[in-house]
């Protein structure tokens, strides 16, 4: 079974040299720690920054330099700053190669719900609806089941949608899944020590797999 860092680490392998990547809040943020050596990427923060660097050293925080999670961060050599309209302009124009974000539910046709639970205080969708409507490649990082033990990989989402037919891959603590063009979650890799049966039991949506499903490399 993967922990949060394990999920982030597996997702990091999906990043190719030269990618511009937008990382959502939560597990996706951890992905930055596992980008392989020799892979040059630039992180886009939708509040208006390309080339986001690590957190500043203590005492070097700058209130004017934050990421989309409102965390103090740094720039890297080659960074650029722009306004919010240009930021979402480059997102809509698909200049960002990969978007990694969390989800409450994903459906077997790639719909995603991650912004609203009816009856609970709604904080807003932030930039998520723009990102999922435009990104050419979206990977979801999430737990396989919710706190009630129910599968988050569903035939259809039950929560209000953030976007439709947009998720390409999902990494959970149990494995790596691809959303099949004709519908269904195709299991590509099992997490270390996880059996096919464990995955079947935790997946409410249609599960597809080849006869042999490899275990994820460490």
């Amino acid at each position: 079974m993967l922990d949060k860092d394990g999920i982030a680490k597996r997702i990091a392998k999906e990043i190719k040299d030269g990618y511009y990547v937008n990382l959502g809040i939560g597990i996706p943020t951890l992905v930055a720690n596992y980008i392989p050596n020799g892979i040059n990427v630039a992180l886009q923060s939708e509040n208006g920054l390309l080339g986001m660097g690590p957190f500043p050293f203590e005492g070097e925080e700058n209130a004017d330099l934050i990421n989309a999670g409102k965390q103090t961060i740094t720039t890297l050599p080659g960074s650029s700053i722009f306004d919010s309209a240009e930021s979402f302009g480059m997102i809509r124009a698909q200049k960002v190669d990969l978007t990694i974000l969390g989800a409450m539910e994903v459906s077997e046709n790639g719909d995603i719900a991650n912004w609203k639970i009816p009856g609970k205080m709604v904080k807003g969708m932030g930039g998520a609806m723009d990102l999922v409507a435009s990104a050419k490649n979206i990977i979801v990082a999430m737990q396989h089941v919710n706190q009630a033990g129910e599968s988050k990989l569903l035939p259809a989402c039950t929560l209000p949608l953030t976007g439709v037919r947009c998720v390409k891959k999902i990494v959970t603590e149990l494995g790596l899944f691809e959303v099949h063009p004709l519908g269904g979650f195709k299991l590509l890799e099992r997490a270390p020590g996880i059996s096919i049966n464990q995955i079947k039991n935790a997946t409410a949506g249609k599960l597809i797999m080849d006869t042999e499903v490899p275990e994820m490399e460490a």
């Binding site: 509040n47 722009f82 919010s84």
Partner: protein
């Protein structure tokens, strides 16, 4: 060159009336017009509709205007961690319209660019699309979203000159330039106000034509919402 300088935040906001629609720059607590917010509270202007990406926190930013019940409606993409906000929302005292962040930014920009409406895919297939016109271009669906119409835009910049030209610092830029373009009247508060001619024309982020009033603010707190650091080894 045309001089846009006013003496203070109080002077800058003096003709803002109850019930008006304001755009307020900033993302989270970063790059917010602290001085104008204080002046709006001091003057006690009520029933405001505020277009702003966020609503501040309980004791800073627009949160301060919520506490004094000056806001009738918030138009935002994310209203964050704000207990008073939640209380007013649940009690029905406060109206909230949640809009995708890119749509919010682009509806401001559309106004500044004289475009009555724009097409965006954000929200297609979701409840955001309800009641909106959907149009397909090249096989992809887009929503028709209208340009915002704001009585005032209130922005915060780092440097400004007497002609109203503005330069922002780092990610405190965010929504400020697109809102600066979009106000019927635009008020800019700056950390440093300099004479026309001191800023390089190539480095202006907001040309002075968009700015009607400018003043040098004071006592910037620039609060950090989420301080994250690395420790040195």
């Amino acid at each position: 060159m045309i001089n846009k300088v006013v003496v203070s935040a109080d002077a800058a906001i003096q003709d803002i009336q109850d019930g008006m629609t304001l755009m307020l720059g900033g993302f989270g607590l970063c790059g917010i017009p602290e001085n104008c917010i204080a002046a709006l509270i001091k003057k006690g202007i009520k029933q405001l509709t505020c277009i702003s990406n966020n609503a501040g926190v309980d004791d800073f930013g627009i949160g301060l205007m919520l506490k004094t019940r000056q806001v009738k409606k918030m138009i935002s993409s994310y209203v964050g961690e704000n207990a008073e906000f939640e209380r007013q929302l649940l009690s029905g005292e406060l109206e909230v319209e949640l809009i995708p962040q890119g749509t919010l930014a682009t509806r401001c920009m559309a106004s500044g660019y004289g475009m009555p409406a724009i097409f965006t895919p954000a929200g297609v297939g979701t409840e955001i699309a309800e009641g909106k016109e959907i149009r397909n271009f090249h096989g992809k669906d887009y929503l028709l979203e209208m340009a915002f119409d704001a009585d005032f835009a209130i922005v915060k910049a780092w440097k400004g000159d007497t002609a109203g030209n503005l330069i922002y610092h780092s990610t405190a830029r965010n929504f400020n330039p697109v809102m600066a373009m979009a106000g019927k009247i635009t008020i800019a508060e700056v950390e440093q106000l300099v004479e026309a001619g001191e800023l390089d024309p190539d480095q202006i982020h907001t040309p002075g034509i968009y700015v009607h009033r400018i003043f040098q603010g004071e006592h910037y707190e620039k609060r950090i919402e989420n301080r994250t650091v690395r420790t040195r080894n």
